[in-house]
Amino acid sequence: MQGKDFIISRLENILKEISSEQVELVYNFKDSQLTRFANNYIHQNVAQRDGHLTIKIVRGKKVSLASTNSLEPFTIKNTIDRLIASMEFQPEDPNFVSLPYPEPYLDLDDFDDETAGCTPGQRAEIVKVITDEAEKYGVNASGQCSTCINELAIVNSLGIRAYNCATRAHLLAMASDEMEGFSTLLSRKISNLDAYLVAEESVSKCIKSRNPVELKPEVYPVVLQAFGVAQLLEHLCYQNFNAKDFMEERSCITGKLGKKVTGELITIHNNPLDPEGLPRPFDMEGVPGTPITLIEKGVAKSLVHNSYTANQLKVKSTGNQANPAYKTPYPLNLIMDAGSYSVEKMIESIEKGIYITRLNYINIVDSKQTINTGLTRGGTFLIENGKISRPVYNLRFTDSIFKLLSEVSMISKDRRLGGEINSPVLTPAVKINKFRFTGATKPTS
């Protein structure tokens, strides 16, 4: 960890060296460690320390950008000289108005000493809980246990001085035999990652997946666990609920703001301050995050903004600048409202359907219609007469995410954090009345 005082003072010194109308400096220092395992042993074990500085300068309506991972004076000077030289040939951006001005942000208690000080030996012990469980049942466990310290600082010539230091931890396991069982946990604290839970969930699903049967791909009712719901929301929201794609008319909700796009049980927020997620106090411009509702009871309600898109539409930035190099904002802390059911009740309500743990390799087929394809993975089971009966070979789906969310009839009361460390998604499990499967995957013998 480099520390607030060191980083801010270093950035302020760099700011003084740049003569320009407006300047933005974004510095992200990560100290991250990842212990990876497969076949019940640690096969890759890595650590890296890297800081990345992005310098943005503005002259009139010209904006120029460069980044480096060195804070050495010589490198910084070269980077600044290059930026200034490139200004001469840069055309103006008529849509650019201004970098953002300072606003107060919440000082989140986002740092955990135990996570920051987590050693390779401690991560190995966590991994051993999972591999021991797998060995006991004669299956193979693979996955990763990672911890990181993430320092983010933004300094701009309009007065922004933002700094946050966060710890994050991630545990993931895939137990494999003939089929797989999956489990994962995300938190800002390593102590919240219950390795025994991850071990039990992944290994038990793997064992229950022995002797799978083939299922004809067609339309079924489905219970989709929280991680799978998170994956669908990521694919729906990242490319569609940002103001830039909306203005360019390529968002699936272009022309549909204020209109019903899913079933009314669905409410999805972008909330960077929800303590149940992985909160972030400000974005990559230093603008505090504003909780907004993207879909409210099925109606497309809002878009996420950065200062670039907000200035164009004369609204307030929602604090969703995800990458200082790009003009497109992204929703980064997706949260879906919980319901009132247990997963068991959802299963009981299905005569013949499928229980899905998670999805895999989702890709867009038609973005305007939100049609995506992908596969089930990590524990897929047939539901018969209200009970999980047999494991099935993974199935391929091709369907519209809007349509799937319109077919949601039950939502669980419990939620789980999925997604990734940089883009967490908090979701419940759901029952989807009609989920279209278009293919089946059975490994060769």
Binding site: S32, L34, T35, A38, N39, N40, Y41, I42, H43, N45, V46, A47, Q48, R49, A66, S67, N69, S70, T79, S86, Q90, P91, D93, P94, T119, P120, G121, R123, A124, V127, K128, Q144, L172, A173, S176, E180, E248, E249, R250, A325, Y326, N360, Y361, N363, I364, V365, S367, Q369, I371, T373, N394, R396, T398, R436, T438, G439, T441, K442, P443, T444
Partner: protein, 480 residues
């Protein structure tokens, strides 16, 4: 740098490592994107640092830092050793490495025009000119032209005495348009999606692409797609163009042939492979005309290099011979499992990543057909062009692709245009249904700049050579 290298290697040995290597890298990347005649992005980024890999009592440790000093090297080597000790807490058999000769080499990839010396004004002029052409179509609501350049300098050294310096320059470019009307949107790209085409070449590659000259065509096609018929559903004969076939090769041959996947080392992320060891030299992977090699030696190809990140010289390895599955992509550690030497396929994205088994250039060898003759020979079918999306299962068996555009083939002639073309199959059925491949006049090596693998995820640069080919009885038209 010699002092840094010596300190790292000597220290690792002193700590008891039976093997260690260090990579000191410097990567510069320039990306310019002009959209709707406005500069969307001009970004110049630099990243340099070093990573140390150690093998201690058969267990691996890796640590990396952006601070290249003797003091930091000492910290990082010590950290890598501690990590290796932790790895040993959950260990099975010790990792054993296949033979590697110690090599002293310096390689600089040949380049005619250094793209980093080309003035920004010239680059912007090219992109603006393409934009100007594309702006003439009212239904083309969004259009863009982009350039990408990389300068990657790398020093590799190992405790086995290797000292290798590589210097590469890479270039890529492409244009893309979106026709939007009502609630429908269609995209056309040239020469390919996802940033275009890439090579280990300089600015001469960009000039050869003729971006401006192809802008009108893709605009017209995108607009026509708005009114085109939906791709029909059914089992059809398909001819797949070189670009889409490149992605097909990537997903259904390249990845399953990565031996670390077969061994389960990627199970928690992208998955494993159906190409288990019992299938080596026994599985009829494809029809007898299907021959596929992995070749890292083609100088200009995007996946090429002189030495991999274990110091193994680049080589050509046969993966499929006359339809039979015959080879894997391996590393020094995994090759010993097969009783072989490494295929030289270990690459890391940059200094801060561990090397993984990566595809170099995976190439479907050309056949004998001229494209016009192949179409004429195909009574009824569909001609699928330019990859749009891809999805494949965790064992690389069931896949589904969509392309940007397709044409009906009727009575041996290209007919009406189809929109939303998709096709699905399983890998072995698909490649066994290949009954014709076009000749080397139609063969092109495509560069792909966004292959993701590993945890943490790293991005690899790979290449795929392919000529258009025909496949029988393929399920097309997945959308309702």
């Amino acid at each position: 740098m010699k002092e840094i290298i010596n300190e790292a290697m000597n220290l690792a040995t002193m700590y008891g490592a039976e093997y260690a290597d260090i990579r000191i890298e410097d990567l510069k990347h320039e990306h310019i994107l002009v959209k709707n005649k406005k500069v969307e992005n001009i970004n110049y980024s630099e990243s340099s640092g070093f990573g140390v890999r150690v093998l201690l009592n058969g267990s691996w440790g890796f640590a990396a830092s952006s601070i290249i000093t003797i003091e930091e090297v000492r910290k990082i080597v010590s950290q890598a050793i501690n990590i290796a000790k932790a790895s040993a807490m959950v260990k099975k058999a010790p990792a054993i490495l296949s033979f590697s000769p110690g090599v002293h080499e310096k390689y600089t990839a040949p380049v005619e025009i250094d793209p980093f010396q080309v003035p920004l004004s010239e680059k912007l002029e090219l992109l603006m000119e393409a934009n100007e052409v594309m702006s003439a179509y009212p239904l083309i609501k969004l259009y863009g032209a982009e350039l990408s350049f990389y300068r990657h300098n790398k020093i590799f050294a190992s405790t086995e005495g290797s000292l290798i310096e590589h210097n590469y320059i890479k270039s890529g470019a492409g244009i893309q348009v979106w026709a939007i009307k009502d609630n429908e949107m269609h995209c056309r790209s040239y020469p390919a999606n996802s940033g275009g085409d890439f090579r280990n070449n300089g600015y001469e590659f960009v000039k050869s692409m003729k971006l401006v000259e192809n802008a009108d065509r893709i605009c017209q096609e995108a607009v026509q797609l708005l009114d085109a018929e939906q791709c029909p559903t059914g089992e059809k004969t398909v001819i797949i163009d070189s670009n889409q076939l490149a992605i097909q090769i990537h997903e259904s041959i390249g990845h399953p042939a990565e031996y670390d996947r077969v061994l389960g080392m990627e199970a928690s992320f992208a998955g494993t492979s159906f190409l288990t060891v019992d299938k080596l030299n026994t599985l009829k992977f494809g029809s007898p005309i299907v021959n596929v090699n992995a070749d890292a030696t083609i100088p200009y190809a995007f996946g090429s290099y002189a030495f991999d990140d274990e110091g193994i010289p680049a080589r050509r390895v046969q993966l499929i011979k006359e339809g039979m599955f015959v080879g894997y992509l391996t590393s020094r550690e995994t090759a010993t499992n097969l009783g072989q030497e490494s295929s030289g396929s270990m690459k890391a994205e940059n200094w801060n990543f561990l090397p993984l088994i990566r595809m170099p250039n995976i190439n479907l060898e050309p056949g004998n057909w001229k494209l016009n003759d192949l179409i004429a020979d195909t009574g009824d079918g569909i001609y699928l062009c330019t990859n749009k999306s891809w999805s494949i299962d965790d064992k690389r068996w069931n896949f589904q692709f969509s392309t940007e555009i397709a044409w009906e083939i009727k009575n041996g002639k290209l007919g009406k245009m189809y929109k939303n073309p998709t096709y699905t199959d399983n890998t072995v059925h698909f490649w066994n249904s290949c009954d014709a491949i076009c000749n080397k006049d139609y063969w092109h090596i495509w560069g792909i700049a966004n292959c993701g693998k590993g945890q943490p995820v790293q991005i690899g640069h790979v290449g795929h050579g392919a000529a258009p080919a025909r496949f029988r009885n393929i399920k097309v038209g997945i959308m309702e």
